[in-house]
């Protein structure tokens, strides 16, 4: 599986290979394998500037000039042929033919970073020793040249007995050589490769010496050190400035989610309102109009409004990932993480869990230590994923006044949102501590992390990411949310009595809501919220759509007021805050449950996790509402 989680998996990411030859993309982490894969296949696998982005295999199709189909497989990065983490295991299995659905590759493209050629060449020895037709690609030619480095690809080819191409996967320079190689693959059976007998290299030091010698023969001049990276690190890793800058940036983003995205949100909102009204006027009064206007427009529309905010969040995460700052953030976070029994590397999946827990849980594959990985998987769903954002911002907009706290920089609403994010983080940390002192005791962690050079995030790749994100979000609105909304609308109109729909409290949906009401009343929730809690088991943001539909049906007689106003009438502030706390803790996401089951290989973990998070959510919300009742 590669795309089953509903919130990851953008536009086309992979194709499935049935028959035909395939070439594996192999190389050290962050060498540009996925960039080349995307260029060759036209797909959009995730590319980012830190080691360990790709954690599973992805298949893509390339058509050659004769129309023959050939497959290219993107793989996780490896440092050697000794796998130490789950992602490296994937690559190892493919290269040794242990992956049954693929079989042994018909050829290999070995991608090395030309700006650090001699160390990367160490991997060439064991890969060439596999005896498969191999093209050695020296990537990042643009960077090498800009920093005054040099290499002679044909001299290198002579030394290692395999074709060598110097390319820039990012700009496309030299990629035709790769295409030529692909066209040759499979045309002949297996090309008997090494014309040059490679020396037997028993161990790493010997391999490194060999790589040094070969590099020298190939006229390799290493590039000048990345001056910009050093300068930036002096700022970002500065004892005082570093954390300060981080804090300011984070505050700015949270404020931006409220003030920056507001005009766009208002725009989307009025567009949806206007089109809904238009549609209403076009259709005759009756069931269809009610379904479309109150059900679909009221339900799906109220979720779609949050698109600008979500894109803003993704823009921020994208800049962090593409620039190379994320690896530094992991280093900065390591000390704190080690106190709770985790390591800095866990910070990367945890940060990506702010977008969505599904890819984050997959990203834990890069963590070598099994216990570290398990702990990270178990706490990842506490991180505030983007599906919680619509719920939070809706409730905050309805119940928190926008009083400025620090002038224009920070308002009360943004501060509450930040507080909820911190709460999720605190719950993750607390759970990690709990795990360390119970089931995962004595886990000693280590941390080793390669820091890539900073790169300027390309506007094109950021834009493509946002487009992919928007597509995913809208797709979800058009499928899961639409489906739940329509189902809810139907249940809210049955059973028909005297040819009329019953009042919503007496409909099937209303009865279900009222059945759970006694259990959630102490939390400050009424039966409508109860329905929302149930529907949001499909996905968190569904509750927004559900409330949109319910209030829409309730107020069908009048001009329906905005969702925010209906909420204000329907919930007490205590209930509203309890609801936010509930969403901060509960594991209401079926995709997450499914991915945890897949990655950990048993139902026991996700079941325990679901129960633990659910109890925390229930009692957290209960405490919040009771406190409010007590002190109001």
């Amino acid at each position: 599986m590669s795309d089953s989680g509903s919130c990851h998996g953008a536009a086309p990411q992979t194709v499935s290979r049935k028959e035909g030859h395939y070439v594996a993309l192999v190389g050290p982490p962050n060498a540009g394998k996925s960039t080349l894969f995307n260029r060759l296949t036209g797909l959009r696998q995730k590319v980012a500037n830190f080691p360990g982005v790709t954690v599973e295999h992805h298949v893509g199709r390339v058509k050659d000039s004769t129309g023959r189909e050939l497959f290219v497989v993107d793989l996780p990065g490896i440092y050697s042929m000794t796998p130490r983490s789950e992602d490296e295991q994937v690559t190892y299995d493919v290269l040794t033919g242990a992956k049954e659905s693929l079989g042994l590759p018909d050829g290999i493209i070995l991608i090395l970073d030309s700006t650090n050629l001699q160390r990367h060449l160490v991997l060439a020895a064991p890969v060439l020793a596999l005896g498969l037709p191999t093209l050695v690609v020296l990537n990042m030619a643009d960077d090498l040249e800009a920093r005054g480095g040099k290499v002679d690809p044909s001299a290198l080819a002579r030394e290692i007995g395999a074709p060598v191409a110097l390319i820039s996967a990012a700009s496309g320079q030299g990629v035709e050589r790769v295409v030529q190689f692909l066209q040759g693959t499979g045309a002949r059976p297996v090309v008997p490769q090494p014309r040059v007998e490679l020396p037997v290299l028993p161990n790493l030091p010997a391999r490194r010496r060999w790589a040094g010698r070969v590099g020298l023969q190939a006229g390799y001049t290493p590039p000048a050190p990345p001056e910009w990276t050093r300068r930036l690190d002096r700022i970002f890793l500065h004892p005082v400035l570093g954390p300060l800058i981080f804090l300011v940036v984070v505050l700015a983003v949270f404020q931006g989610i409220f003030t920056g995205a507001q005009p766009m949100m208002d725009g989307v909102e009025s567009l949806i309102g206007w089109s809904g009204e238009r549609l209403g006027n076009l259709l005759p009064e009756g069931i269809l109009r009610s379904l479309l206007v109150e059900g679909v427009w009221g339900g799906v529309g109220s979720v779609v409004v949050f698109l600008p905010q979500i894109l803003l969040l993704f823009l921020f995460i994208g800049i962090l990932e593409d620039s190379g700052y994320l690896a530094r953030a992991a280093v900065i976070a390591d000390r704190t993480m080690s106190r709770v029994g985790l390591q800095g590397k866990a910070f990367i999946p945890l940060l990506s869990a702010y977008a969505c827990a599904v890819p984050a849980i997959m990203a834990t594959r890069t963590i070598e230590n099994k216990r570290d990985r398990l702990a990270t998987v178990l706490i990842a769903p506490f991180m505030t994923c983007s599906a919680r954002l619509p719920v939070y911002t809706l409730l905050i907009a309805a119940f928190v006044p926008n009083t400025p706290i620090v002038g224009q920089l920070l308002g009360l609403q943004a501060a509450v949102l930040l507080g909820l994010y911190l709460l999720g983080f605190a719950a993750a940390v607390g759970t990690a501590l709990l795990l360390r002192s119970t089931v995962l005791r004595h886990a000693k962690t280590t941390f080793v992390m390669e820091l890539p050079a900073y790169r300027r995030p390309s506007l094109r790749s950021l834009l493509l990411r946002l487009i992919d994100r928007a597509v995913i979000f809208l797709k979800r609105a058009g499928t899961v949310i639409l489906l739940v909304t329509v189902l809810l609308w139907v249940l809210a109109h049955l059973p028909y009595k005297d040819g009329k729909a019953p009042p919503i409290e007496e409909s099937i949906a209303g009865q279900i809501g009222r059945a759970v009401e006694p259990a959630i009343q102490p939390l400050g929730f009424n039966w409508k919220i109860g329905i929302g809690l149930i529907t949001s088991l499909a996905a968190r943001e569904v509750i927004v759509g559900t409330l949109g539909t319910i209030y829409g049906i309730e107020n069908a007689e009048q001009d329906s007021p905005p969702l925010i106003e209906s909420l204000r009438k329907d919930l007490t502030p205590g209930g509203a805050f309890a609801l936010m706390i509930f969403f901060a803790f509960a594991m209401q996401c079926f995709s997450t449950v499914a991915i945890v089951r897949r990655e950990l290989g048993s139902w026991a973990w996700p079941a325990a996790q679901f129960a633990y998070m659910g109890l925390l959510a229930y009692f957290g919300a209960l405490a919040t509402n009771q406190l409010w009742l007590h002190f109001r």
Partner: protein, 92 residues
Amino acid sequence: MQLSFKNGAAQTLAQLPTGSQAYLERLDLPEEMSQRLMELGFLPGTSVVAAGSAPGGDPRIFRVDGSEIALRRDTACRLYISAEPIPDLDQI
């Protein structure tokens, strides 16, 4: 800047002051960990520069074999260094 040794006591990477350079002598770590570090460039004989650290001083960042690697102090203190190139390993 060259590192000066205090009367023969074994020195480790953890003690290498930021901005200084030394040669790696040996790794005193479990097999798996030392293999990983060697793959990243920490091979005996290699020149290592202490490049900086996270704001709290741990982990520290080292420049080795063309890249920058962050290590925790408790790992760095198991990597022994010497101020002089190591005779039969200096081909690297």
